[in-house]
Amino acid sequence: MERTISLERLVDGVLTELEKRIAAAASPGGDEAGGMPLAPVDLFGPAASRVPDPKWEEGVNELIAATPARIGVWRAGTRPLTREMLKFRCDHAAAVDSIYGQVSPAILEQYGLFTVETRYENTENYLKRPDMGRIVTDEGVEKIRSACRMNAQVQIVVSDGLSASAVDANLRDVYPALLDSLKAYGLSAGTPFFVRGGRVAVMDHIGDILQPEVFVLLIGERPGLVSSKSMSAYMCYRPRKGTVESDRTVISNIHQGGTPPLEAGAHIGTVVKKMLEQRTSGVNLDL
């Protein structure tokens, strides 16, 4: 019963926060108090018909509204119109930059996350050798041993993965919501940190070192053209070397426009609680 009350409070909290943000987003001045400028209005605006003389005028808009695909775009000869072509290239540019970008040091500092690296060495090698992104360097292992609490109930780790901008864009929402949620369930989190150049299975190596009950890895996803800032939360009960992929539970597509980051944070807490109750994760977890 107590838990139910806490949950309701949590949901209320999330809703209040959401309302605040929606109100802030609606005001032209933006959320100045937080020092966070609002994203500028998309240069290209919403998709609109470029077909000059369609057989059915309203029909084009109806079709465009039915899909996020780039249709009703028209042509110059057989080639795309300049603006449509440049829009596509802009989206690709954002995706590429998110892979080669770095997570902002300010955000790591804000949440007291120290940094360790995997054996990835550089982005090129990271892309070619996923195996190296699954192992923390010796130096990093030492750092983890000296800084972190062993046998935590919930170990939270953040990693850039394939999109640094996913961390920049979503961590400020996901992370506090996750901590609130854990608190509401009466669960305790270990010492959090950041892994540069991490792959999902890096949690197995860290799991061996710190022996936590449940592991939560917040990691940048492979960027798409729709969003280059999408984050995934990979969760696993007692991840260790040899853990198979089907033992992991994932909440993916976390970004504004996908799974809302605040809701995701709260939802991760609920999943973690179930993992602890059922002592399992992945395909065996009853959600």
Partner: protein, 453 residues
């Protein structure tokens, strides 16, 4: 079998045919990840030199994966015509390359010797060929196929309409499909990758595409690219499928990773012949791609070009209507950059054609690969020159469901105009009736998706 060579003052000694085959490959990140690639450029050349002098019989007599333990190897072995093989078994791989490139060697000659080749021999010769060799040899081969219409004729470039939608919305799928048709795309297949792999979802998408085909009398074929078991279930429940689809791997273990084996493919083959809506005789759609065996840890130390060729050896058994390699989908750990993707696209197209497959290519890349749309333009032109049967049409090349970039409706229309290629003849006649195309060019009405509302 001689596995030694001297090059630039150094002697190179290879341990096995498997090692020579791997090290003779052009540089691929997937072979490096597997730990089987050449150490440096010189070792790569040494392997190519050794391979050039090997006899076709050496390759057949030293199986990389014995037929006794792998059913894909068994299929490849069983299709060899012994008489034709007997005529060419003493050829070196170098001689095979030169035979393919001779001016006196045309489509009929290649078609004949192809029946004496194994997939490993085909892979071996590809390793000795330059990109332009691969284009020229492939351009000699005409492989036509017929489901509801014929594609693959010389001078024809068909397109798959790929109107995917992130939630399988029928309206959303149709919106992209109407756009495709208005650009003259869809003669290879109206083919949808579903998000939800359920019989119900497959049935709805097959019904919806079939309705569009019936309403506008479109001469083409439909397909939904779910797992084969899901499609079989949908077909048994009465869904109208002209073809069945499946992804293939080049080893039995790799196929196990896809949840299939030959018994299951045979069962599906029988089903589509009995309960499918397509005319035939070609009723299959296969997709492949270098690296899938390694990613499933089912590569047995064999390089990704050879494994890809073995996929084609398996595909051949089912006389498919269309086959395409999804060349750049798998990611940079297998094909790192545009150079590797372009090379793989040309290799795959050539190796498939040499095994008499109606080859298309999904000219594509993901965002973590060092490639962009200009590279896809390049590869598409090279493949059009090589006589590729079809490529993929996605709205503005951006697949909003699979999150990767391929080629666009505009691209196919452009390749047709610049390379003097046409849609499949039956489809072109229909485009003319619809007022979308005239004299092989798009009309002013083309590009308006509301033509189909």
């Amino acid at each position: 079998m001689k596995l030694t060579t001297a090059l630039l003052g150094k002697t190179f000694q290879f341990k096995s045919l498997k090692e020579v085959m791997a090290k003779a490959n052009e540089e691929k990140s997937g072979d490096q990840l597997a730990g089987i690639a050449a150490e440096d450029a010189k070792e790569r050349m040494a392997a190519k030199l050794v391979l050039a002098d090997l006899k076709l019989a050496d390759i057949r007599d030293n199986p990389l994966l014995p037929p006794e333990t792998d059913e894909v190897s068994r299929v490849i072995e069983e299709t060899v015509n012994e008489k034709i093989y007997g005529e060419i078994r003493r050829w070196t791989v170098a001689e095979l390359r030169e035979y393919l490139l001779q001016q006196t060697t045309g489509n009929d000659e290649i078609c004949r010797i192809s029946r004496g080749l194994t997939s490993e021999m085909v892979a071996a010769v590809a390793k000795l060929m330059s990109n332009l060799d691969l284009v020229q040899a492939a351009s000699k081969m005409e492989v036509t196929s017929h489901c509801n219409i014929t594609i693959g004729q010389r001078g024809v470039l068909a397109g798959r309409a790929q109107p995917n939608h992130p939630t399988d919305s029928i309206q959303g799928m149709k919106a992209s499909l109407f756009e495709a048709l208005s650009y003259g795309i869809g003669d290879a297949v109206l083919g949808i990758n579903p998000v939800i792999d359920s019989a119900e979802s497959v049935k709805q998408l097959l019904n919806a595409t079939k309705e569009v085909m019936d309403q506008w009398r479109i001469p083409t074929q439909n397909c939904v690219l779910a797992h084969i078991k899901t499609q079989m279930k949908a077909i048994r429940q009465g869904a109208p499928a002209d073809m069945v689809f499946q992804s293939l791997a080049g080893t039995a273990d790799g196929n196990k990773g896809f949840g299939i084996d030959i018994a299951l493919l045979d069962e599906a083959d029988e089903l589509i012949r009995r309960e499918g809506t397509g005319t035939g005789p070609n009723l299959w759609y296969f997709e492949t791609g270098q690296g899938s065996e390694l990613s499933a840890e089912a590569h047995h130390g064999i390089d990704q070009v050879t494994l890809e060729s073995r996929c084609y050896g398996l595909a051949r058994k089912y006389k498919p209507f269309i086959v395409n390699t999804v060349v750049g989908f798998i990611g940079p750990e297998y094909l790192y950059d545009s150079k590797q993707v372009i090379r793989a696209g040309l290799e795959d197209h050539f190796m498939g054609k040499l095994q008499q497959l109606p080859m298309g290519v999904d000219v594509c890349y993901t965002n973590h690969m060092k490639a962009d749309q200009n590279d896809m333009d390049n590869l598409a032109v090279l493949l059009a020159a090589a006589g590729v049967n079809y490529i993929i049409g996605v709205p503005m090349a951006d697949d909003c469901m699979l999150n990767y970039q391929s080629t666009s409706y505009h691209d196919i229309a452009t390749l047709r105009e610049t390379m003097r290629l046409r849609p499949a003849p039956d489809f072109e006649r229909w485009l003319e009736e619809m007022g979308i195309m005239a004299n092989g060019r798009l009309t002013p009405a083309a590009g308006d998706p509301t033509l189909f509302m």
